[in-house]
Amino acid sequence: MRSQLTELSGWGRTSPTVATLVDTSTQELTAGGLAFLTSNRRGVIARGLGRAYGDPAQNAGGNVVRLAPGPILLDDEAGVVTVGAGVSLDELLRHLVPRGWFIPVSPGTRFVTIGGAVASDVHGKNHHVDGSFGSHLDQLTMLLADGRSRAITAASDPDLWWATIGGMGLTGIITDVTIRLLPIESSLCVVDTERVPNLEALLERMESGDHRYRYSVAWIDLVASGSGLGRSVLTRGDHATVDQLAADGHKALRDPLAFGPPELAAIPPGIPNALSRPAVRAFNELWYRKAPKEHRSFESITGFFHPLDMIGEWNRLYGSKGFLQYQFVVPFEAVDTLREIVKRVVASGYASFLAILKRFGPESGGLLSFPTPGWTLTLDLPAGAAGLGALLADLDAMVLEVGGRHYLAKDATTTPEVIRAGYPRLDEWLAIRKRVDPDGLWASDQARRLALV
């Protein structure tokens, strides 16, 4: 166990605080390491790779625990894998893909841990078909506040299970996770790309056609206004089969499951905000023009699922004040609100890099899980922008008015009231938390800010 006073922030690099960062392993923790951590009255929170944008994986004045990766145990027969919570999706995919398996849900980056994926009940481009990460789990092993390690399933302890999936680390430290996998024939995806001139056309195309694809996502240009408001590039696809590769005479046929994602370059620290409005406008224009009107192609897993992983530390592009990501979901009927929010953001003039629109399917059952049927929009905003707080407060109100909610893994500026209004099962969650953690051992900055503890 190694511990050190460290300044921590999320991926957005906003509101840093100082905590004791403890690097340890599941073995050390279960062999009594927790007793060491409980001596600090400010509590403990688990941290994965710090890819949540705001402050859920930091605990000012307290302890923050990082788990060493741990083993990957694949059961090829059953198509399930049991994996240490500190393992990243990157490591897991490098193990699984060559063996013909894929993770059931992949967020937009491979650099998240399994623990973080469970704690945020992450979603991918396939939510409308497959639901979120928490819908594909057989078992969780957790370290609870009483110092005991316990393996649970959805049947053995439904309360703790559904309070933990999406529970932002506030019910205990997840140490091992058993995941049901998706069989794949190749490491390529067959992708249909369409350029869509405006928001109305986009919504119509997604509504009428998404069900034909396992994966679907639209990248929206949030600088374009007027008749081009909401112009976007829609990409939809699925894992390519060997037959599809053969029909194309694709060179990947020689080794269809090869997987070796590149990391190209890292953005150096200390650069000023590079994402000025003209720069973003130029980039968005280029990116839109470059996209084909309609086109089918084969893409790599990285190219299709994790394009941003090709640039290391890209969060530094926003300069020293950092940035925040705003993600909400509104019911399908609430297209007027969705359009109004897009208009407000475009009109605000804050340079937002590409925004992402997706359709969510049914909920997983996680009491604090974010996905619920509707449209989910995700956009980046520079944290230093003047008047940003007022804009976001307005957007929060618009989202809540139509029964929407905000994603805790992205949240960095909401309030206890906003979360309470968006999550009708919050009180159930709080009651379970009180039961499994009566003395309030698990605590994070986000939990303090949002009155979750």
Partner: protein
Amino acid sequence: MNNAINDPQTVLVLGGTSDIGQAIVAKLATTSLRQVILAVRQPDQVDVEQVAVGDADVAVVGFDATDTASHEALIADVAEEYGDLDVIVQAFGQLGASDLQDPIASAELATVNYAGAVSSGLAAAKQLRLQGHGTLVVLSSVAGVRTRGSNFVYGSTKAGQDAFATGLGHALHGTGAKVLTVRPGFVRSAMTDGLEEAPFSVDPDDVADAVVAGLRSGKSVVWVPGKLRYVFGLLRFAPDAVWRKLDK
């Protein structure tokens, strides 16, 4: 906890009746702000309804800068009751007379403005370190940058407070606790009521704007107005005779 754009949720003002202190609180009243605690000499004299803080709650506690022995417990108690203190403003202070005839009153002024700032500043620092986050805002003054013959006792207390605050900021580096030292010029407030205005005069709201901007961007020193930084950069080195001439 502050949010991602550094809006605080809980603010403690030491010297809670101060015009500048209250202007700061009013400017910090975003949708994030939940609780303001005014620490004042006479709690029963404060009408909390009169304090402009949006939807946040206002509480009042007793505080005397001269009762240095009480400061540590006071701040710990406030944190126990209201949770983490995101911003603590040191807004108390007196102008005093600064004549050559009254050593006792001058020593008392030093106790309020300097000793009180040291003890409450250290008490605040202890709490912020424990929390691993938070900012102590210290209302210093340009009067301490170069002391004038007409208010040298006050000026010397502010010089001491300023040196303490900036040094404390260095001492706290790496703990998550921060210090924002604020150097206003002449501010039109209760303290200066009836005095002739100096050049570069500002209102408490201007000081508050500068403090909020400083908190947002994580600065360690702000001057109000900002150009005083350059003015004093020169005045500090003005010949004594010139400096005396300016002090009239």
